[in-house]
């Protein structure tokens, strides 16, 4: 009996030791990245970065809005060192709230001038993504729907229940849609368009990337989101056709920020220097993220939607990133558009 107990004690002890070993992470140079691009891209960053610098990269993927929330929650005690990717507005908001600090990366001059000027010294632009309309041609054919060419077409009653777009409460993509419309036609007209489009929306998704899922399997005929995410799905074999609206379209400037008060400052800076290098920026397309890289030296993949081919509006990144502009707009959407009958 005593022997049995001793053996049991030994097993328990071994388990406890194993647990302790799990808790104590290896003492190694590392950087904690909050990653707001697509998951495969996030996953590919770590191995490449470690190969280049020997620094281990841990990441958590959170959407841009969730990321901002997390950084704000942990203001006193940041877990993350750098914030990679995602729509620029929350990066700008984080900077203006003192949650991030601007770090001029090593090859800052190699980044596209227009992007650098648009965001000023708030965050580092790493890519540009263009907002677009995706349609599923099979559904269009089956239901005999008229072609979509412009934003204003989306208000036509024939598309009832056929559109998917994200909810601006949780998605930066949807907020970019709102600011694009406001830049094009003014706030009241933009809200009028969204109100008329509302009966056509089957679901406001939580994540900005989500509409492509319904679009790809045909539960929606039209999806509104960034083109590069749709390119990836199209290349996987989903029936998707991408359209640039005739009025002109908006874009996001993907951000890269250094979290204020990080404890791994050197590693975070090394990560940021690396992240804008052509080698790092060409990881995106390999993992199916076809946004336009910000470094002029990065070769552009053929499938990447290029602003040369579209009519772009000029979005005022500093204005729209400001929470005092942003919050009332989202609140207005939540009380004026969201509860409308469908």
């Amino acid at each position: 009996m005593r022997k049995k107990i001793a053996r049991r004690g030994l097993v328990m002890g071994a388990l406890a030791l194993a647990a302790a070993a799990g808790i104590v992470s290896a003492q190694q140079k590392q950087v904690n990245v909050l990653c707001s691009v697509t998951l495969p891209w996030c996953e590919a960053l770590g191995p490449a970065f470690q190969k280049e610098t020997g620094i281990k990269l841990n990441f958590v993927r959170l959407s841009t809005a969730e990321g901002l929330a997390r950084i704000r929650a942990e203001k006193a005690n940041p877990t993350f060192d750098a914030w990679f990717g995602g729509t620029g507005d929350p990066h700008y908001e984080a900077w203006s709230n003192g949650l991030t600090t601007f770090y001029k990366v090593k090859d800052y001059e190699n980044l596209r001038r227009d992007l650098r000027f648009a965001v000023g010294l708030s965050y580092v632009p790493i890519y540009q993504g263009i907002l677009g309309i995706g349609i599923n041609p099979n559904v269009f054919k089956a239901k005999n729907l008229p072609a979509v060419k412009c934003w204003s077409d989306l208000t036509k009653p024939v598309y009832k229940g056929q559109i998917q777009i994200a909810n601006p409460n949780t998605s930066g993509t949807a907020y970019t849609f709102i600011t694009t419309l406001i830049t094009l036609m003014g706030e009241d007209k933009a809200f009028d368009l969204m109100a008329k489009m509302h009966p056509n929306v089957s679901e406001y998704t939580r994540s900005g990337v989500a509409p492509r899922v319904a679009l790809g399997n045909g539960s929606a005929a039209i999806g509104i989101q960034f083109m590069h995410d749709m390119v990836e799905f199209k290349k996987q074999g989903f029936p998707i056709q991408i359209i640039a609206p005739c009025e002109g379209t908006g874009y996001e400037i993907g951000g890269l920020s250094l979290i204020k008060g990080t404890r791994n400052m050197e590693n975070a800076k090394a990560f940021m220097d690396w992240a804008i290098s052509p080698a790092a920026q060409s990881i995106g397309p390999k993992t199916g993220a076809y946004s336009l890289p910000s470094n002029i030296k990065t070769p552009v993949d053929d499938d990447t939607p290029n602003p040369k081919d579209f009519k772009l509006v000029t979005l005022d990144a500093k204005k729209w990133g400001n929470p005092t502009v942003r919050d009332p707009l989202i609140k207005r959407w939540t009380s004026e558009i969201f509860p409308l009958p469908r």
């Binding site: 998951l39 841990n58 929330a69 877990t79 409460n169 089957s202 998704t205 989500a210």
Partner: protein
Amino acid sequence: MVAAIPSAFSNRSSRALIPAVLLAVGVLLLPFVRPDRPFELFNWDLVALNKATWLAWLLFTSSAVLSVLSWLRLPMLARGYALIGISSGVSITVFAWLASTSSYFGFGALAALVCLLLVLGVGLSETGLIQSDPFIASSIVLCGIFVTLFIAFPLFVVLRESIIVNGAFTLKKMAETLSSPLFMVLENKFTPRSETTIVFGIATAGAVLGFGLMFLRKARVQLLLGTTLAGGVLGFIVGAGVFGRGAFATSLYLALIVAPTTVFFGLIFAILEQRCRAAWVRRILSIVGILPMITPPFVLAFALENWFGAQGLITNRVFGVDTNYFKGVTGVAIAQILAFTPIAYLTLRGSVQGLNPALEEAAQTMRSNPWMVFTKITLPLLRPGLAAAFLLTVIESLADFSNPILLGGDRSFLATEVYLALTGRYDPNEASVYGAVLLVLVLTILGLQRAWLGNTSFVTVTGKPGSGNFSMLPRWLENTLQGVLGFWGLLVAMLYGSVFYGSFVKIWGVNGEFTLQHYIDFSGTGLEVLARTAQVALVSAIVATLLGFLIAYLVTRQQFFGRSILETTSMLSFATPGTVMGVAYVIAFNVGPWLLTGTFIVLVLALVFRNMPASIRSVMAGLSQIDKALDEASTLLRAPSSTTLARVLVPLLIPQLLSGIVFAFVRGMTAISQIIFLVSPGNLLATVLMLSWLEQGNLGRAAAMSTVMILGLLGMILLLFAFSKRFSRNGTGLEGIG
């Protein structure tokens, strides 16, 4: 406890010696604080001597004093008070130091505090303030502190955050949230009709119906008022669910659909198991009982959408349905009914098997037809069980996170709104308001149940079988019910089959070409995350089971002040919705000396306090079958409680403990709502990863991970069954798990 302290007040050395010595060792060797979130086991720069020299010397001195006091044969009473005084004084000093220098506690400080608490427990026992032996007293102190710190305190913090914003008391946030269209909106000003009028019309109709029904049966005034009120409330919920919007209305409406349906199916299954001639029924039912536990969240939801969604194989390809009807209350309700019916079945199973066949036989002898026997005898006897199953599913439905987040479309639900308020809008106060609402709802429901059924617990421990046999079901009924079960089995097989299929084809529903690509993609990050998840789940399962065992033992076998408080508080975490507990942990442990967010430990703790109530229940059930005479015999032979526990009770309860660990592990692997806020870099968990895959449309990869998880967990459970058959004396080592 009989003769717990046989040698009280005599002179002998104290049990406090070991913790007192360990105190010095821990303080000397382990890092006392940590500069950052991660815990370290060895770091000379961070030990107390290098970080807080005077405190270290204070601790060494007190360790020496305590050791000498314990070692010498002193009068027990006086020594007891000395132990209490020194240990509580020093632990308060340690805590004050941590708080005033705002350093985060490390393993050293933790070890010091635990040792001091153990000494305190011994002191309390020696003075007779707690009338038990030192081991029991220390256990009570430790369990009490743990439960207070990790259940009561976080819940208090949630309630506090909902009314205290930026350090000042205000009801503004509460009012703002409760009046927001996301919480509840009846009137839609864009429709010509008045929704408010309609909803109150339905409520009035409900009230009139409730009144009328009871009036016709000539009920007492009290009952009459009760049913009128209940009718009105139910009518309002239905009206608000159909015509209104918002999390409050939707969640209640959903629960109202799901709970009765689920209990109905659960009852069918339970009765079928007992009174059916065919053997295959029992075989299917044993699988039905296990499945929900080993199924990762989201699996049912996305498989359902694949078959019955807007583009579902059945709804669209076969019936040509082409609307988005599925997203919203409909889809969530179907998914929840599928997920919770096994739970209702397991809950009802106990009461159905506890029925006494003699009563039914008596009724039959008196020429009652089967229908009368069922409505006048069986059903009334099952009422407590039915009520328990009903309320349990109401709570599960309200607390459910995974189905609404995937299938809820853009309708809001209380449990998901807690999450969106915190992660989407980053408003901890708003999240707390939602959490408080959810908590109050659940507690009200539990309170109603207590008031209605008295002190019946959710667990219906299988009673002793009565004499006699149940009459089998009438043929036609048996066939119908078997048909229901068969259909159910087919549906479940279809759902799991499609997940399996989906993991091997290129694009689910679009391109059916065979591929292993999803498994290759999955193994990239997936395997590492899965290993981490298993690590977290294993550690938490062991801790939860041991702690649960200790608490169950204390509560059932010992008498002490605060016993019922300990029991209620430790059961509270079972009733608390996971998202609320998650928010509570984030808010409570993100600042101050108790900084735990972003660590491995916080995940473990969240799962421990989620799974502990189940362990407590299963051990309690096991303990109730062990005669107290055994404990007493051991005590009379002068064995201290710790020996009784280790040499008598633990060996007898090995099957319960083992299955407790396995089930806690399985539940830990598939948990989502309580840990989704707590994942951090390097501590990502499988279910959270799966959610992001699903949302971005990497369905194949999610299917691959689900397949791996389902098969792995199923394998573990089967192993456990095989193992426990060998271990247990009566061949059924798994009773009381559910």
